[in-house]
Amino acid sequence: MHINTANWHKYMALPAFLLFSLFFLFPLFRGLQLSFTAWDGFSTPEFIGLRNFIQFFSDKRALGDMKTTLLFALGSAPLLNLCGLSLALLLNSGFRGRHLVRSLVYLPAVISPMIMGSVWYLLLQPQRGIFYLWLERVSVEPGNWMLHHGSALILIILVNVWQYAGMTMIIYLAGLQAIPEEQYEAAALEGSGRWKVFRYITLPWLFPSIRINVITNIIGSLSVFEIILALTDGGPGYATESLSIYIMRMCYGNKTGYSTAVAIILFFIIMVPVLITLRGLNRMGESYE
């Protein structure tokens, strides 16, 4: 008997599609539905149309959180790429112990950001943290850096970059190691300087890695949650609260319908720069080709 296996691939994909539907599509559409309701999380949702979305744009706290989130992303995403690329270029050279150094640089990325934030809080806590005490010993008055929106946000960005630069580095490293040696040899023969080699050989070949890193860092930075919760809990007051934290607090504060609306708004806040960046990067990529 002849069995037609031509369409088996469709059936093989079915379990994965079912899981995708259950854990992604269903929550997405259910969330979309709930965003148009006044729901406290356990009683019957009441349809209220676009009121949740309108409320967001008149909510000072929510708008403040959006500003904090954008500032964080503007600081964190470029810094992550710069540090990741620099580390990758450094560690791509053949020096003794480079494998160990690579592992150590990557290690923070595998630790939970909540734990990382708590550890850094122990180090940086005003009056009591280890760094604070060291600075006092050398007669430097560090002030209470967590008391002010600006300094607290810079701290959070630096801790975030410290944690995830390794992950960015690994992707750039993979890209660097895929560049054929002959390219560099040919450049050396022509007497090209380091900057020209980087600009015309390394960068174009690295483009797919740049694209992945830039996009993932934008998404990760705009949806920042744990590191802020662990370091400052969004404080002082709400000065460093991100939109993700705001969504969580609204959800568990009997405003579950409203929180899903804010989550949808956050989705667009992330998607718009991602699409613009992707478009820009694709154009740049075409010019390299």
């Binding site: 406290d40 999380g41 356990f42 009056q127 809990d233 007051g237 000065a239 568990y252 504060g253 405003k255």
Partner: protein, 418 residues
């Protein structure tokens, strides 16, 4: 061969049927708790109960973020038979069983029964097995060396703290743990709402909170209660009477500072005593307990006396008799005595005598001497004690131009929460 196989199969099936038939039918009860301090004790007590009642299996679930997990359970229709997570919203939704007619109320202090009474319906949907107290915990040696006594006015309170600062420059007179914003939120709940409760009485204040009708104690009244509170707190900060890192210090820092003698006074509840003694056993005889100071003239010092260790039963529980059997065991004098001594809190049951705390004498004295206030259970649930605490973080970091601006900000979020 077939006959042999058939015989073996028959034997197996018969054995299985006998095993299933002989197996006692067991009723399963779900018990959902958010109390981290009593997880181990609860597991042990359930094991003791099940040894006595093998026909009832109690499945205990503890969650750190219990109030949020409870909402998820309710949304998915999995209401636990018994829970420690009880809020006014859940009561309003009819989630819990009416326990008003239960005989255990005859053993419970009338004041505790009042605190467990739902104002809207006049019924009891929860039962509390303990009473907790909150106030100012102070270092007895420091107070005694300076001849300090409980402050009855705000000025006396400030004078006490100034005396401590002068005599012990390395000690923080009053230690605030602002990073854990709920500790700051308690300042509003006890020092500010306490005045309202003192003015209107407990039943009156509960109704006033429900109706959002505070009259001239409303939070945005110029020169009123909340502005007075903000001014008072800023006065303490300006005079250096609170720790310099009041906004970034944690609850753990607070306990450590008090236990090690680096903080003279902390604003807390009885739940903190066990941890302090664990950190420094020598503090067993060195913890004093006093009232919250009144932030406005004309009012008296206050002590929190509130229901604790609350339990509620699901309105949809499948086996009420099994729940009742478990509650009868849980509420027995022997079990409750053990629980009181573990929690460090007195029992709500009249027939339970326990040695519940090394500072019970001081606490009882304060409860009898000063105005008793409760938790603001009728405050709007959309405004959490954490939210109130975050506003105080903003006050202490200079985000408000004046104490009155702070009062207006608090009034705004309070009113928005209704």
């Amino acid at each position: 061969m077939n006959k042999k196989l058939m015989t073996i199969i028959t034997l197996i099936v018969t054995a299985a049927a006998l095993w299933a038939g002989g197996k006692q039918e067991v009723t399963e009860l779900s018990f959902f708790s958010g109390r981290v301090e009593t997880v181990e004790w609860t597991e042990n007590i359930i094991a003791e109960f099940q040894a006595l009642h093998p026909e009832i299996a109690v499945e205990h679930e503890y969650q750190n973020d219990a109030s949020n997990v409870m909402k998820i359970k309710l949304a998915s229709g999995e209401v636990p038979d018994l829970t420690t997570v009880v809020t006014q919203d859940f009561i309003d939704q009819g989630i819990f069983m009416d326990l008003s007619s239960q005989p255990f109320w005859n053993r419970i202090l009338p004041s505790v029964k009042d605190l467990c009474t739902d104002l809207k319906s006049g019924r009891q949907f929860k039962v509390a097995t303990n009473v907790t107290m909150g106030g100012l915990f102070y270092n007895k040696e420091m107070f005694s060396s300076l001849g300090l006594k409980d402050a009855r006015t705000w000025d006396e309170f400030v004078a006490n703290l100034e005396a401590i600062k002068a005599a012990y420059p390395e000690v923080d007179p009053l230690f605030l743990a602002g990073k854990d914003s709920w500790t700051l939120g308690h300042l509003i709940e006890f020092w500010v709402h306490g005045i309202i409760k003192q003015e209107l009485g407990i039943p009156g204040s509960r109704q006033a909170f429900l109706d959002n009708d505070l009259g001239n104690l409303a939070f945005d009244v110029p020169g009123g209660l909340m502005e007075s509170f903000a001014s008072a707190l800023l006065e303490l900060q300006e005079k250096g009477l609170i720790n310099a890192d009041a906004v970034t210090a944690t609850y753990d820092n607070q306990k450590e500072a008090f236990a090690s003698g680096k903080a003279a006074v902390i604003n807390q509840g009885m739940w903190v005593v066990g941890d302090i003694i664990k950190l420094n056993p020598a503090m067993t005889t060195n913890i004093g307990f006093g009232p919250f100071p009144p932030v406005m003239d004309g009012y008296k010092p206050m002590v929190l006396t509130a229901e604790d260790s609350v339990l509620a039963v699901s309105a949809e529980t499948a086996d009420w008799e099994a729940v009742l059997t478990f509650l009868e065991f849980l509420f027995s004098p022997e079990v409750q005595k053990e629980y009181c001594e573990l929690r460090g809190m007195p029992s709500a049951f009249k027939d339970v005598q326990a040695d519940w705390s090394p500072i019970s004498g001081d606490v009882s004295r304060a409860v009898e001497t000063y105005v008793n206030i409760n938790f603001s259970t009728e405050a709007p649930s959309d405004l959490s004690v954490d939210d109130a605490g975050r506003l105080i973080q903003e006050l202490l970091t200079g985000m408000y131009d004046s104490p009155y601006d702070f009062a207006k900000a608090y009034a705004a979020i309070w009113n928005a929460a209704y």
